[in-house]
């Protein structure tokens, strides 16, 4: 194949999201947002062929369409009520957005400010409380900033490690925050006190930049690897098969 253009930041993020579903097995990949959606489809087309994907509505896609396209094969039916009950089975790995997230992985999409009279009303808690207690959960933040990575979230929707532990066995039994992926790097909670740790830096990003954009003390190991770049085959799949319209570049600045 001809020499491809170097991967953009958005394409690195797509691969980082896809990696969250590596080894996930036969579970529903439930991505929210453009880059995670491309990532889930890329994982299915490459290293996680057993993943289940939805068409964004009530059907499980039997093949992998381009963004905005329709699957030509339907392999299952998953209306909202079944989707909600599937969560309780644990056979799902969701990647949600976060208007705010703290060092323990508590996430907020409900409102900014005092809940009683918010400065900015957002979506509401949606399914974040049930998701985080029942199936592996990752987060995607397309614009890493101190306004998003905060010391304390205004309303805990998705439950973090500290809150899950405090709430007792029923809350922590299946609780698992897998990754946080932003436009700057990849993060996890594999630290003794389950606080957020820098796992890898996207190409061209430095540690200082991440620290500056993070509103809490971030664990940074002595050696931080680079997020892996897409392979030529992955780049071709992203650019030609999954997102020929280039929607990923609208979500992440290059």
């Amino acid at each position: 194949m001809s020499a491809a253009r170097a991967a953009t930041r958005a394409e690195v993020c797509v691969v980082a999201c896809a990696e969250a579903w590596r080894g996930a097995g036969e579970v529903l990949a439930a991505p929210m947002g453009t880059v995670p959606t491309i990532g889930a489809r890329l994982a299915r087309l490459t290293f996680s062929p057993d993943l289940l994907l939805t068409d964004g509505e009530a059907l499980l896609a039997g093949d992998v369409p381009a963004l905005g396209g329709r699957a030509s094969v339907t392999e299952g039916w998953l209306p909202y009520r079944q989707h909600l009950t599937l969560v309780a089975t644990g056979r799902r790995h969701v990647m949600m957005g976060a208007s705010q997230i703290d060092r323990y992985g508590n996430q907020n999409i409900s409102c900014i400010g005092d809940w009683g009279r918010p400065a900015r009303q957002l979506l509401g808690v949606r399914g974040a409380p049930v998701n985080t207690l029942n199936n592996p959960t990752s987060y995607w933040v397309p614009r890493h900033s101190p306004r998003t990575f905060v010391a304390r979230v205004d309303m805990v929707c998705g439950v973090g490690y500290d809150r899950a532990a405090q709430a007792g066995g029923a809350a922590s039994r299946y609780h698992h925050l897998h990754r946080v992926i932003s436009d700057l790097g990849v993060f996890d909670f594999r630290t003794p006190d389950r606080t957020m740790r820098l796992r890898s830096l996207h190409p061209g990003v430095e540690v200082g930049q991440v620290r500056e954009a993070t509103g809490f003390p971030l664990r940074v190991p002595p050696e931080v690897p680079r997020t892996r770049e897409p392979t030529p085959d992955e780049l071709r799949l992203i650019r030609e098969t999954i997102d020929p319209g280039g929607l990923r570049d609208r979500e992440v600045r290059t």
Binding site: V125, G127, A128, A167
Partner: protein
Amino acid sequence: MTADEAVGRLASGMTIGIGGWGSRRKPMALVRALLRSDLTGLTVVSYGGPDVGLLAAAGKIRRLVTAFVTLDSIPLEPHFRAARQRGALELTELDEAMFLWGLTAAAQRLPFMPVRAGLGSDVMRVNPHIRTVVSPYADGEELAAVPALRLDAALVHLNRADARGNGQYLGPDPYFDDLFCEAADAAYLSCERIVDSAALTRAAPPQSLLVKRPFVSGVIEAPNGAHFTSCVPDYGRDEAFQKAYAQAAGDPEAWAGFTERFLSGDERDYQAAVTAFRTREVRPAAAHGEGA
């Protein structure tokens, strides 16, 4: 019966469940009838979309029970946002699954359902009335006890129904409409078309029969009655209209104009105004490569 007759059976202060999800298959003709009524102080239970936005803007809602309010293709509902930010309504904010199991408990005539959701989240902080329950079995797990969401009335919109109240959905998702009906003391079902019972399964499988007549108090034929939300396969969401709605909602003067134009008359006036909107504003724009 008509939408106005259905709403005539409701009373101020009631708890009303509204079917559909976000900006999908909302019983908008019934919601518009609610807007025309003098009912106030409602507790609205809804996976919220423009039903919540319109009722909030009209000051009809005292308390809202929900997990979210969204227009789907427009993530944030402008009237709901404004109402929350000016403290205009009380909110019972539940997780999507807690909401489902609350409705289920009501339908099953149970006081609560145990749920692995809410624990550790601020849903428990902002709903101090929600208790937990300890499993009586060896695991001893302490779970959220989501109280039943019993409704005085439910409003839902389906594709087809017979006159006795057997309701049919023809799209891919039932949402929770049968559950809303079963959780309610009275349910009013609007539909695109009332057909003979025999016609219901002539072209669709029996499992498309979602709502059973013992749970329905009145059937309303309301063509285009979910507009501007979707009612597939009969029609998709009217994105151009929804955009106009959201834009108007951002400005009091524009909203007054929108209300005057679309919501000052009855359902027939509304549908005529929508037809005029589409003819004058959407089609010319579409000819220039914009719009729906």
